[in-house]
């Protein structure tokens, strides 16, 4: 890539976010109600129909599930309220401009590119969710990954293409009307989850509220994994509930939203999204999954379990939940990709992203491993949020210069680059040494006893990776700024 091409990409990226270059002004701030509505709507999505059943399939016990979600979601709320919202309110800048100041334009391009890929993947997962319901009236069976079906049938793929093309077309037309429609859907969708779950409880032998805990332990969250799934414990549930939006809270992507908040305390509005969506909806979809399986069915796909609990309205809910979340996700992916394709119009870019989305939707393994994918991407982007937090709050106290890349006119911040790679590689290594076959073989008999005894799951690594990211970034930044200072002094003496 030539220097000219690189500068063109940076200019395009800057132009894309030009409107958000200046901090938000006082007259454009919003109160609690807006943030409560926004979080409640955003975290009751199509993927909620996947994640609750995934926990059931992984054999989590009732106590572990309810307690793990309580604590994990509490940690997520604290991360929004104490880490993300204070930064958004202090700087009133988007994640793009904040990263650009701290990490330099090249690293911001890398962030945008990786984020685009992840967004396409997530949009694909949501299309998959929608198709599991659209396929029902056509009697097209949903792919059963647990039974070894790696690729869906041709009619199912054709359906995914049709749904994907519709979503891509709507994303090309813009997101504002869809965003409004998604807001309208939110209260109804919550009730569909709850109504479906309540209605099927009797099928599981629960005839009064007093029976619930017994039935939850014996028939819903039994503690026994289904099929070849690994066993999940309290720590998995807690870690996942915290990690699944790590990019948004610890990773600071939501400073783009919180720059519109009047006070940092509005970060606690995230509790509505977490406890309605990632608690209530996950519990409900878990119940629906268990009842569906108890009725003698197999392959608990979102469309099937929603139809089982809520009839036609449930199936419509799955389609809407998948569509309203896939649409803005694809729109954002299109925007992120557009910077790398300077001469392409947005409709072309969005359709290109749409092709990737449809391909992803046709891979049943994606939704079957959605918890892992979300875990990896959370850990991947989280260090950048840690850098932002340290740069803004800790650097001034240590006598270090904040926004160093911008002030020193650097194209890339090497402390951020190496700390990002180092922190993520730390997690990959700590998890991979016991889970990746090639790495396990490579390290066989070579690990010291203390390291061999540490065998965390991917979902346990939020806090350790944050500490590693912060430590590396601070050490590297001290070196960078000391060396730069010494160079200036030597030049002055010279």
């Amino acid at each position: 890539m030539s220097a000219e091409q690189k500068s063109t990409i940076i200019e395009r990226l800057d132009a894309l976010y030009e409107y958000e270059r200046e901090p938000v002004t006082e007259d454009k701030l919003y109160g609690w109600k807006t943030f409560i509505a926004m979080f409640s709507g955003e975290h009751i999505a199509g993927t909620e129909f996947v994640l609750g059943p995934l926990m059931v399939m992984h054999g989590v016990s009732a106590r572990d599930f309810f307690l793990g979600l309580l604590v994990g979601n509490f940690l997520a709320v604290l991360s929004w309220a104490l880490l993300c919202a204070p930064v958004g309110v202090k700087t009133r800048l988007t994640i793009y401009w904040q990263l650009r100041r701290i990490c330099g334009p090249y690293l911001t391009i890398a962030y945008s590119a990786f984020y685009a890929v992840i967004l396409c993947l997530l949009a694909g997962a949501m299309v998959n969710v929608a198709v599991t319901a659209v396929s029902l009236p056509f009697n097209i069976p949903n792919p059963d990954y647990a039974a070894g079906q790696m690729i869906p049938t041709v009619p199912w793929i054709l359906l995914a293409v049709v749904v994907g093309v519709v979503i891509a077309t709507l994303a090309v037309l813009g997101f504002e009307k869809i965003a409004h429609f998604s807001k309208v859907c939110a209260p109804w969708m919550v009730l569909i989850f709850f109504a479906g779950a309540i209605a099927v409880l009797a099928d599981l032998g629960c005839s009064s509220i007093g029976d619930f805990w017994h039935v939850a332990n014996e028939k819903i969250f039994t503690g026994v994994p289904i099929g070849a799934n690994t066993k999940y414990t309290y720590w998995h549930v807690m870690g996942f509930a915290w990690l699944c939006n790590a990019t948004q809270h610890i990773g600071m992507a939501d400073i783009t939203i919180f720059r519109y908040a009047k006070r940092w305390t509005q970060g606690f509005a995230s509790a509505f999204g977490m406890y309605l969506g990632h608690y209530g909806a996950w519990v409900c979809s878990g119940i629906l999954c268990a009842a569906y399986l108890a009725a003698g069915n197999t392959n608990p796909q979102p469309g099937n379990i929603a139809l089982f609990g809520a009839g036609f309205a449930g199936a419509v809910c799955v389609v809407i939940a998948g569509w309203t979340t896939a649409n803005p996700t694809l729109y954002r992916a299109g925007l992120a990709i557009q910077v790398a394709t300077p001469n392409w119009k947005r409709w072309k870019v969005t359709f290109a992203a749409g092709v990737f989305m449809i391909l992803t939707a046709c891979i049943p393994a994606v939704n079957a491993n959605l918890d892992r994918i979300v875990g990896y991407y959370g850990l991947f982007f989280m260090p950048l949020g840690a850098f932002i937090f340290i740069d803004i709050w800790i650097f001034p106290k240590l006598g270090l210069i904040s926004d160093y890349a911008q002030k020193a006119k650097l194209m890339i911040s090497w402390p951020a680059t190496f700390a990002w790679i180092g922190a993520f590689m730390f997690s990959v290594f700590i998890y991979g040494k016991d889970h990746y076959l090639w790495l396990s073989r490579l390290l066989e008999g070579k690990q010291p006893a203390w390291l061999a005894n540490i065998q965390p799951d991917l979902l346990f690594l939020v806090a350790p990776e944050w500490v590693v990211a912060v430590t590396l970034y601070m050490i590297f930044s001290v070196i960078q700024q000391k060396v730069a200072k010494a160079n200036v002094q030597s030049q002055e003496v010279g």
């Binding site: 395009r12 132009a15 894309l16 976010y17 030009e18 409107y19 958000e20 454009k28 919003y30 807006t34 509505a37 926004m38 988007t94 813009g174 997101f175 504002e176 965003a179 409004h180 429609f181 807001k183 309208v184 209260p187 109804w188 009730l191 569909i192 709850f194 109504a195 479906g196 309540i198 209605a199 099927v200 409880l201 009797a202 629960c206 005839s207 783009t256 939203i257 720059r259 519109y260 809520a310 009839g311 036609f312 309205a313 449930g314 419509v316 803005p328 729109y331 954002r332 299109g334 925007l335 557009q338 119009k345 947005r346």
Partner: protein
């Protein structure tokens, strides 16, 4: 005045739609009605909600999405 009254009527129908979505499930739980009746109530509730809510629910909120250069030109 007329507009406010109409909005109030729409809001009441929306709320009834939500009530029809959730309340029948409690009757299924108690064994008062069959699950198939609950399915039908949910369809009616859905029609009532989507037939009215989009007309009174505001779409205000922070503008958090960027627009691409070709959109800005428009």
């Amino acid at each position: 005045m007329k507009h406010t009254a109409l909005t109030q009527v729409l809001k009441i129908i929306s709320c009834l739609g939500l009530a029809l979505t959730i309340i029948p499930s409690l009757f299924v739980f108690k064994g008062v009605i069959d699950i198939k009746v609950h399915y039908q109530f949910m369809i009616v509730g859905m029609i009532m909600w989507f037939g009215t809510a989009p007309f009174w629910m505001k779409s205000s909120g922070p503008h958090t999405e960027s627009k691409s250069p070709d959109e800005k030109e428009q």
